[in-house]
Subunit: 303 residues, 2 copies
């Protein structure tokens, strides 16, 4: 079997159909698909200053590389890379090295913010002291810090490396937790232009599976080693991930179907979803929906 578009040896069979592609045609397919997503949902506009959340892993490295390609053509788009260093020993120091290397190569300014400096302790330290679900704690703190720092850097959109697998998992997880209104905050682009306090989020890798992104990152040599966060794979997300991978194997197209089903109801959910009034957190002043933001509430509970 050869590549669908030439005589070269294929490197991947695409999900959802029987097409096989060689290295060069796969790279073209991948990049085209991202540009199509960007166009379709108007993720990037002239004048945008995009903060790219980069961990140094396969997803965010691929994302930064492609947004940079785009920014080289569209001169009115500016990029700034932002890394959050949670302090996860044996993991983050490696990906951080990859992130720095890529940003240097692409000549994109990189800003690194750490939990240690911002919150007084690393994630590892907090997990040693308190019995907490690592991803719940880490997710709250990372979202908080990304939004605050992006805003301080003058960024008007924050691009993240979320792929199709991540999104399908979140959709199902919200159903399983009977939390479907939270899904109104999913989708390829969230937030509103007028809101200067919650920076809009964009997900250009939205329609690419984890396997596709990993293949691209490998072919482009972005990631020196594929290491996973030691905290991942546990809990509900890990179990939902396994379920989706099992079903995708037996019923190809499962992940795309879950995503597309969601995209059909997303406008209905958002229309129905009453926008909550944005308040100032009594402790830190950051925007939030309650009296105290989730991060301060969490940090207070740990004192």
């Amino acid at each position: 079997m050869a590549c669908k578009s030439c005589v070269e040896k294929p490197v991947i069979k695409l999900p959802n159909n029987n097409v096989q592609l060689c290295k060069n045609h796969y790279i073209k397919y991948f990049e085209k698909k991202i540009l199509k997503t960007i166009r379709q949902f108007n993720l990037v506009e002239d004048g945008d200053h995009i903060g790219v959340a980069i961990s140094g892993g396969k997803d965010s490295s691929s994302l930064l590389y492609i947004l940079n390609k785009l920014a080289e053509k569209r001169k009115k788009v500016k990029l700034t890379a932002i890394t959050i260093d949670e302090g996860i020993h044996g993991y983050r120091e490696h990906t951080l090295k990859d992130a720095r290397k890529l940003c240097e190569e692409l000549k994109i300014p990189l800003y690194v913010y750490s939990y240690k400096e911002e919150f007084g302790q690393t994630l590892d330290e907090a997990l040693k002291k308190y019995k907490l679900k690592p991803c719940s704690l880490c997710g709250v703190l990372r979202r908080y810090l990304l939004n605050k720092k992006a805003r301080e850097l003058g960024v008007n959109k924050l691009a993240t490396g979320h792929n199709l697998d991540d999104e399908a998992q979140s959709i199902l997880m919200n159903q399983i937790k009977n939390n479907i209104q939270t899904s109104a905050r999913l989708g390829p682009i969230t937030g509103v232009k007028e809101d200067k306090r919650f920076i809009r989020r964009i997900k250009p890798l939205y329609f690419l599976t984890e396997r596709e992104v990993a293949t691209y990152a490998f072919l482009k040599g972005f990631v020196s080693e594929f290491i996973e966060c030691p905290n991942s794979g546990h809990g509900l997300r890990g179990d939902v991930r396994k379920f989706l991978n099992d079903f995708e194997g037996k019923y190809p197209g499962t992940k795309h179907a879950i995503l597309n089903s969601f995209l059909e109801i997303m406008p209905l959910l958002r229309k129905d979803y009453k926008m909550q009034e944005i308040k100032d957190c009594v402790d830190c002043g950051e925007p939030c929906s309650q009296e105290r933001c989730q991060t301060c509430a969490l940090l207070n509970s740990l004192k």
Copy 2:
């Protein structure tokens, strides 16, 4: 550990919380929950002539018994039992016996319609001749026959024994098949009063899990033996069922959460769902959305 409401030995631990109940209190809980569903969604009204689809299995037997209890109190509600005999050897003849016995005891008229008489062949015979997914074929034929016969019997609502597990499975299956618009036809009550050709469907067991219904049917001695349809457990529904049972075990409340998430979006889906024009099938004259109804299209393809 004793029953939550008395000192008797418990027979079941309810899903979604830690409450245990003895036989008598469980039966009360179960019947009350059905009556609450009937009230909440206005499933039964004075003047209703309800066709009860009874297979003789645990779900429909429990359903018929409770609707009969209700009809004894509400004299303006009339019941007629309807059984579809697909001709599944080693299964249907047993449940049919149970169905006849229960209808005699309750003095409810029972009408039995068979695939053999209506379509010229049993399900077993059709499956021997054609390579078809049994549940897809059987589902289309059963829905067709139930609607047609219910209408001919002058029934204005058709009650089915679908439980919470069935519904949660259907919700997920529609997502996995990227068929979320089909979910607009799920829910505890479907159809509209004005439409005299598609008989409204009601599902009084909507909020009870399969295990709860099985426990009730066992305690009431409705079912002489718990046998499953030999065609069940296969394909997508079987796999989704296993997934839901696994997750319910690890994350109690999963099934309820999926149902409740769906109930939140159901009104949005239905509002968005354009009602298709109802046509007459060119072959049989039954109501349908295409030129030819699904049943005739299917039967024609088998010729």
